[in-house]
Symmetry: C2
Subunit: 574 residues, 2 copies
């Protein structure tokens, strides 16, 4: 492609709203443009990158045994009622009515549609197992679309769904997908980890892993062990039972004084309390009120711990969970926010294991400006449900090997694999007759990769202060061919000739034939980040070119015109 013809609207300014690195570079490099919040157009360079990613994904997913389909975005709302997700999905599910008043959802995912398809088409174990996939546009009305392509309202996804007659087949397909995902992200040049994950609204009874790219800008926190292979999303990572670890002996055996209410004017936060009272955060019991599916519950964790809402939600088997607002807290506790406590609180109390292991603690008094000390779990309040409700902390012991300690790092979710089991086949009646003639529900799995997010994530990992650095397999073009001056006949002729020669050798070349200053051309070249840059300058009179790899910090190398093609082939690994 010649750059005078190419639509590559590079910018010199970073767009004001772009915080994520990938968002900045993709907009500056002319790869994408925003149409509306969380809705982007892919411009030609972006489209080419996405096509390369699509090709890699399609290759590997087909190798894993899946067949490609294309399912509609317009999905009858009845299907979502049938699966029970019409309500669960909440405002993220975009709804609309057709001209006859019939309600549709714009597919944020396709479990409903594909299960209903398979329910109609497959009746016998003989036709199982079956895995279908598609690369298709998804719609999710995110509350806060952000970071460019990292969290969009309209985006490309590869979603695959497997149907099998037994769990053994599901395990086999799951493993094949798991392996395919590794190959895909490797081919995309990513530094990633598969981690244990929480099933969320989509989940079923089986396992689930997320594939996480390690990146500062990630929304997720990944917990890993420094000794064993353990890796999990913070949402999921189990904390080791603190009653053993903390060295506290169980509280009930100790002689502890009676509860004592005391004045703590304006001491609302853990920090205010520890600073003012000269105590440790771990001496405090934090009481937080949530509304779970409309009903209030209190969650108690130690003052130095943070609540893991996913764990709370799962323990309650709740669909929605949110922090209670100030008004609700006041009506339940009778006190301002910051002074809630478990004593005499007439709502269910979910108590974290680390709290049950405390001999005593300081809690809010359910009275503004008052706390209580010497509160003994089980003696002074009833534990409705003890459990693991907190986020693990860096440095804690690994829940897997118990030997190592945990570290955390931020990550971007690239994909996930789920063992759904019979969750959807039961709701949508997808049954088959097994080899003994008995009707059974199909065992399902689902497997997603965010295609547009993948493009952004590659940039998060591959860039420098001058712009993007595309891996060869993904780059929109492999070689950026830049004559210093198109006015110079020797240079322009040599460039044109090399352009043809490289293309004939199957190399994708962008020829910067623009009548721009060299500074502008080099700035754009660094910005759009093609793997190999060839400059045709004055040295062409001696038969020499300059070659530089975008990722390299070394200065450009002089290479003879006669050797350049072979040299490039080596660099491209051809």
């Amino acid at each position: 492609m010649k750059q005078t013809n190419a639509f590559v609207p590079t910018l010199r300014e970073v767009p004001a709203d772009a915080e994520a690195i990938s968002h900045q570079w993709l907009v500056k490099g002319g790869f994408i443009r925003q149409l509306s919040s969380g809705i982007y157009s892919l411009l030609p360079l972006g489209r080419i990158v996405i096509r390369h990613i699509e090709t890699i994904v399609r290759d590997e997913i087909e190798l894993a045994g899946a067949q490609e389909v294309l399912l509609p975005a317009l999905q009858p709302a009845e299907l979502w009622h049938q699966s029970g997700r019409y309500e669960i999905y909440g405002q993220e599910l975009i709804r609309l009515h057709d001209r006859h008043g019939r309600e549709f959802a714009l597919g944020p995912t396709h479990e409903e549609v594909i299960t209903s398809l398979i329910e109609q088409e497959i009746k016998s174990y003989r036709k199982l197992p079956l895995t279908l996939f598609q690369i298709q546009t998804k719609f999710r009305d995110e509350r806060r679309p952000r970071s460019g392509l990292l969290r969009c309202r309209e985006f490309l996804m590869k979603d695959a769904y497997s149907f099998s007659a037994d769990w053994k087949d599901l395990d086999r397909i799951y493993d094949a997908m798991y392996a395919a995902y590794h190959r895909i992200f490797q081919r995309c040049g990513l530094n990633f980890r598969a981690v244990e994950a929480d099933g969320g609204a989509i989940g079923g009874e089986g396992g689930t892993h997320e594939f996480m790219a390690i990146a500062e800008s990630g929304e997720d926190i990944i917990v890993t062990c420094n000794t064993c292979d353990y890796a999990a999303n913070l949402e999921k990572a189990a904390s080791v039972n603190t009653s053993v670890e903390s060295g506290h002996t169980p509280s009930h055996s100790q002689a502890v004084g009676q509860m004592e209410r005391f004045y703590t004017q304006d001491l609302r936060t853990i920090n205010e309390l520890t600073d003012s009272l000269g105590i440790e955060a771990s001496d405090l019991i934090k009481t937080v009120i949530f509304i779970a599916d409309g009903k209030p519950v209190a969650v108690l964790v130690r003052g130095d711990h943070s609540i893991n809402e996913t764990k709370v939600k799962n323990a309650l088997q709740a669909i929605h969970i949110e922090l209670a607002d100030t008004e609700t807290v006041r009506s339940i506790t009778g006190a301002a926010t910051g002074f809630a406590g478990p004593v005499s609180l007439n709502i269910p109390l979910l108590v974290d294991f680390a709290v049950t292991a405390m001999g005593e603690g300081i809690t809010g008094a359910n009275e503004t400006d008052y706390h209580i000390r010497h509160v003994v779990p089980g003696r002074d309040f009833t534990i409705t449900l003890a459990g693991d409700y907190r986020n693990v902390l860096e440095g804690e012991h690994c829940p897997c090997c118990s030997m190592g300690t945990l570290k955390t790092v931020r990550g971007i979710e690239l994909g996930h694999v789920f063992k759904l089991g019979t969750k959807y086949s039961e709701k949508l009646g997808a049954t088959f007759v097994d080899s003994s003639g008995i009707e059974q529900h199909m065992i399902m799995g689902c497997y997603g990769i965010g295609i547009t997010r993948l493009m952004a994530t590659i940039i998060e990992q591959h860039h420098d202060e001058h712009g993007m650095i595309w891996p060869v397999a993904i780059a929109p073009y492999q070689v950026h061919l830049i004559p210093v001056s198109m006015q110079d006949q020797a240079q322009s002729e040599a460039a044109e000739q090399l352009y043809k020669q490289l293309q004939e050798a199957g190399i994708r070349v962008l020829l910067d034939d623009r009548d721009e200053r060299m500074g502008v051309k080099l700035k754009d070249a660094d910005l759009i980040g093609l793997p190999i840059r060839i400059v045709v300058g004055k040295a062409i009179s001696e038969g020499l070119l300059e070659l530089k790899e975008r990722r390299s910090k070394e200065p450009a190398e002089r290479i003879a015109v006669t050797e350049i093609a072979a040299h490039i082939q080596v660099l491209l690994g051809k």
Copy 2:
């Protein structure tokens, strides 16, 4: 692909709602399934075919100089207000609100989005011309989705848009697209014609052609000349001015009797009148009341002619036009339907040239059960606007060469090319600074191809009573390899070996390794219609196979195993 693994749910029964041939075969052959009215899932064979079509389209459109993008389906409603099409598109435009109450349209086409993109990115003639295209899902809430993939509410389209600094460049791009369309439809094996077309709601001031596949099931009527190259959509085809052709001398010079009202009880239709009165249909003047953008107009055509609503709409520059209902007709004419006439009718009268050329005629009397004879156009009623408001008839003279006569044939619209001019660039403010420093509106063109419709149209032209007959370039697989019995070791081994050998030679093979009766296998093979069928039967003991081309009526041919690959290569034109 081995058929035991492939998801190809063939059916023995024609689906009850499928009228169009392509709809029947695509459903029976397991290529598509309906999710909702006008909304289909592409199953694996359908998806492969669409990918082949996409590849052909992408190839040729890129050769024509266009660059691929991907634009959002979710489009802010404001853009549609800006272009003025928010109202025009009517119920076909699917509208929805996001969680913040902001209104969006689901893109039925992308003139608004792309013009707004280019408006922001291109300011100078130096960056023009530019042509961008995408292959993307479109949404149109059709009043009557029908014929399977021929008229859908969600479908794949290739849409391209060109921006240029002058009309000369537009003409050049238009011609390149026109040529690319010819190559695309040729490569798809279609019998088609480019015809002059009407611009419709999308149109601009320039020309427009439709590419029509000749097919009985087509919704469109194509008019062609038996002498010259003239071909037009019936909507567009101009009628030769009948005042010259019909031999009538202009009416006003003739001595004609005065108007005479007469009793015509229950004679409402042209047929009832001609039968009862013993006259010719061409002696009658038909008066039909329309509501154009809310206002009534009457259109007058000769009794043997039919009204062309597109011509009427264009003459009025109306957005919406529809037949007046019975109540409206009564309130305007004072009579029941069937007795409307132009005399003393106080609404605009659009009079077809063939009527202006009549010396006199019989019209309704605007009184139930009465007509008037000796009505002279211009004498007895005022002509608001004379024009060509009728459909041409088969056998009429060609409006182009005047020598040949016209024929009609039905067609399916495969694609269209439009010279939009400045219609959208004016509405959306897409300007550039020309080489003299003057700000001008960009000159636009747009170019569409219905990708999913193309698949259906190929079937409309390529099928027989047993099923589909795929052209080689489009077929999901090129060879259907069928062992008579997989239980027979010699047959199954030979089949497996040939399967590998052909795949290694780059041939796409479907191996029917199912444990089914030969009758079932052959029926399915005819149904899904792969170009070449190879049967491995008993003759394999003598080293012989049976080869049959799907399109051929000849019996299968015996060919030696050693020669089969070369033979297939020849048939595939490799």
